[in-house]
């Protein structure tokens, strides 16, 4: 379980959950980002923020602060993995 804001470029997985109370998440749900949907962090902007996320046949730009409540289950077969950050 990784927040979308901590995904590395190229990492992909499935959406676990988002926060329907937030306006950002409501907008993303309208765009088809619903639990179980496959998504991929395509790239980060040159300054590291925002990020470009691909899902449901589209690429969408999101700010890191807006992506931190969106939880992702990184696919086990994803070649890009990293140790979970120490809490």
């Amino acid at each position: 379980m990784t927040p979308l804001s901590q995904l590395l470029p190229g990492q992909y997985g499935k959406l676990l959950s988002l926060d329907p109370e937030r306006a950002v998440d409501q907008r993303l749900m309208a765009l088809g980002l619903l639990p179980g949907m496959a998504l991929k962090l395509v790239r980060k902007a040159p300054l590291g923020d925002p990020i470009a996320v691909e899902f449901a046949g589209q690429v969408v730009s999101l700010r890191l602060t807006e992506a931190q409540n969106i939880l992702i289950d990184v696919a086990a077969d994803c070649p890009i993995q990293r140790p979970r950050p120490q809490a």
Binding site: P20, A23, R27, A30, L31, V59, R63
Partner: protein
């Protein structure tokens, strides 16, 4: 604003980036009218569309949107327009829903929501050619059958394919009035909706529409309650109880709507769309270069530099041609009015000057919108915002603020018009507020004059450059904190999430680009143009009247031996001195004394409020070197260097000390001295409130900073 009663109205709705505007242009053949929805800064575009059988309907192009849950004013307008809740607009008789054929699932979410509006629908699957190239096979007939017989048309608006079929489908939809089948809500959700409908009926005595009830149940921030007059305590309890029911159905109430619609759409599209490989392969390859960590910013800088250079330099040629044309016209007309000097001055300085004042902005507007339209239609604008967002987000702006602010360094007018590309109303207003602070080309003459006359001769050309660059930064230095305070503390608008689709790259269609350039220019001329013209006439009158002939006779008598040119300049100076403007300048000079301005500078400052570049020629008049003075005029520079205070504690010392020179430049860097900017700000913010606030704020700030600079430098020097 609304069509005659007999004429039918059809709304054009769709997600952004679906080619909706291209389809609109194709259907209306550019017979369009552009207005504004009352009270909001959302453009209302409408045009006549022929249904193929001679009947004409009014087609209204509503702003692009992803969902009916209103997050922005644009989206609220669409919802209100479709419900018939806008003053002066009838409820449309049918809706044409434009969807991107390459991504039906995502696009049909809006269509699925629209099925609750109970309006006849035509579904246009646009960009069908691109879908076919991607290997997608779409069964339009099957989709139509599953949607209850609603006409489904595959088009390529870009290539002009399928337009006639859309016209026929529209005629059919209006005749047969086929609606999309309503959503089959799960039992508990349907019950919750019925509960709310009953509660509204009980509390207000009016039966709400299905669409209204859904907004009340599913949206946390809907304004439907206010519109229906359904008040808080009863409403909150009823909505809470209904949402509990939705929860018992197993849905988070705020997520239920998309979950249920997308579930419906998956079933609906099963077998409708087949095939298709990697849909975004082409754009992804381009993005690998254009959004590359190093190459991306380089390409971005190159494009923006090209755009800025074009607005700054390229526009000069048509602007010079316009100025030359105005001079020629003055020269032709003036002799015939020699007998009536007042009328002569009104025509040459007032009328021609006034028309010229706003026409001179057209080249810059047209060139900037050539770039803006190409950047938007190609899909690059979203990438530019993606690259720049980090630099702007901390002060409440966003990546789309860059283009308006950059073009502000050439001219604020096109910059302000281009703030329309910013969807978030808060960021749009803050950007519009910041744009006039950018050091536009009209500020250049006063910097050039001051540097050439004082900074250069006293401190050398090196310091001249430093001061020039410094002055161009002063505005930015104050604009950024202003935007920060405005967005964080003043504006109480809910911040919008910066969720931006990076659409597929596309070749812009020349007709759409040219049309948009024309529309922006025409709107500027018809709205801001009239205001600019009026301001020019008023200021002309203030500096012309009263005009007592005895003034000229006295000057001529006092200088019998002087050359005709010298006398003429002195007469002109005397006239300005005793005009209302001159008297007012003398009267308020004490106000500008802390900035080190004498009455001549004060008159120049006041006369420059309609257009700041006027300062140089006004100084030329008040310093008796003639009104044709330019920044590089040696006469004017010498006259200013010679100017000394004639009375008061500073008597005998030069008026243009280093302190006064710097204060004057800083004042011009910050002051809101541009009638067209104020008028355009009013046009773009939907009223005079923000234009007035901007004017007062910038002018007060300019005075304070100039006074501080003067008082500090005079003590140090």
């Amino acid at each position: 604003m609304s069509a005659p009663e007999a004429q039918l109205t059809v709304a054009l709705v769709g997600n952004p980036n679906t080619g909706k505007s291209t389809l609109f242009n194709a259907l209306t053949g550019l017979r369009q009218r552009v207005g504004n929805y009352p009270g909001v800064t959302v453009a209302r575009k409408s045009g006549l569309c022929d249904c193929g059988d001679g009947t004409k309907v009014e087609l209204v192009d509503l702003p692009g949107l992803y969902s009916l849950s209103a997050a922005s004013p644009d989206e609220q307008v669409v919802i209100d327009a479709l419900g018939g809740h806008l003053a002066g607009d009838r409820r449309p008789d049918a809706v044409v829903v434009v969807v991107d054929a390459t991504n039906l699932l995502r696009n049909l979410f809006l269509a699925s929501q629209l099925s609750e509006l109970d309006l006849p629908v035509v579904l246009v699957l646009n960009q069908a050619d691109v879908a076919a190239e991607q290997g997608l096979r779409i069964d339009g007939e099957l989709l139509s059958r599953r949607l209850g017989g609603v006409p489904v048309v595959l088009t390529s608006a870009w290539k002009g394919e399928g337009i006639a079929a859309v016209r026929r489908a529209l005629a059919e939809a209006l005749r047969r009035r086929v609606r999309m089948p309503a959503v089959d809500w799960p039992a508990l959700v349907a019950e919750a909706l019925a509960d709310i409908a009953a509660a509204v009926q009980a509390d207000t005595g009016r039966a709400p529409t299905r669409a209204d009830v859904e907004r009340l149940l599913f949206d946390s921030t809907t304004s439907v309650g206010q519109r229906l007059g359904w008040a808080a305590p009863g409403r909150d309890a009823a909505v809470r109880a209904a949402r509990d029911k939705v929860r018992r159905a197993g849905y988070n109430p705020l997520a239920a709507e998309p979950l249920i619609h997308y579930e419906r759409l998956r079933r609906l599209l099963d077998g409708v769309v087949q095939g298709g490989g990697d849909r975004s392969a082409g754009s992804a390859a381009v993005d690998r270069v254009l959004l590359h960590r190093v190459l991306g910013p380089v390409v971005f800088a190159a494009i923006m530099l090209g755009m800025f250079a074009s607005v700054f330099w390229l526009a000069k040629f048509p602007m010079q041609a316009l100025a030359a044309g105005a001079d020629w016209l003055k020269a032709v007309i003036a002799p015939s009015l020699d007998a009536m000097p007042m009328l002569q001055s009104l025509v040459t300085d007032g009328l021609i000057g006034g028309v010229g004042a706003f026409l001179s902005f057209l080249p810059q507007i047209l060139i900037l919108f050539l770039f803006v339209s190409i950047l938007e239609d190609s899909g690059y604008m979203a990438r530019a915002a993606f690259i720049m967002d980090r630099l702007f987000s901390w002060c409440g702006l966003n990546g789309k603020s860059f283009v308006p602010m950059l073009s502000g360094f050439a001219c604020a007018i096109p910059g302000l018009l281009s703030t329309r590309t910013i969807e978030d109303p808060k960021a749009r207003l803050a950007t519009a507020f910041a744009v006039p602070f950018m050091s536009c080309s009209a500020r250049f003459p006063i910097y050039a004059l001051m540097c050439a006359a004082f900074i250069g001769p006293l401190y050398g050309p090196g310091w001249e450059s430093v001061v020039m660059v410094g002055m161009h930064c002063v505005g930015l230095l104050f604009a950024v904190p202003t935007a920060f305070v405005l967005t964080r503390l003043v504006l109480k608008v809910k911040p919008q999430p910066f969720v931006l689709e990076l659409p597929r790259y596309q070749m812009p269609k020349p007709r759409d680009v040219l049309w948009r350039m024309w529309q922006n220019a025409a709107e500027f001329v018809s709205k801001a143009g009239t205001v600019i013209f009026a301001i020019t006439i008023v200021v002309w009158a203030l500096s012309y009247f009263p005009r007592d002939v005895s003034v000229a006779e006295r000057i001529k008598a006092a200088n019998p031996a002087a050359a005709e040119e010298v006398v003429k300049a002195k007469v002109q100076a005397a006239y300005v001195e005793q005009s209302y403007m001159g008297r007012f300048g003398k009267a308020v000079q004490p106000l500008f004394d802390p900035c080190g301005f004498d009455w001549k500078i004060t008159v120049g400052v006041l006369a420059s409020f309609p257009a700041r570049e006027v300062i140089v020629s006004t100084l030329g008049v008040t310093y008796s070197v003639g009104e044709g003075a330019k920044a590089d005029s040696a006469h004017l520079q010498q006259a200013m260097r010679d100017a000394k205070w004639s009375e008061g504690p500073r008597a005998g010392t030069p008026i243009f000390s280093l302190a006064a020179v710097l204060a004057l430049m800083v004042f011009f860097a910050l002051c809101s001295q541009c009638g067209p900017t104020v008028a355009t700000l009013a046009q773009e913010t939907g009223g005079w409130k923000w234009a007035a606030i901007s004017f007062v704020y910038m002018t007060a700030l300019a005075w304070i900073v100039a006074a501080v600079v003067y008082q500090v430098v005079i003590r140090l020097a």
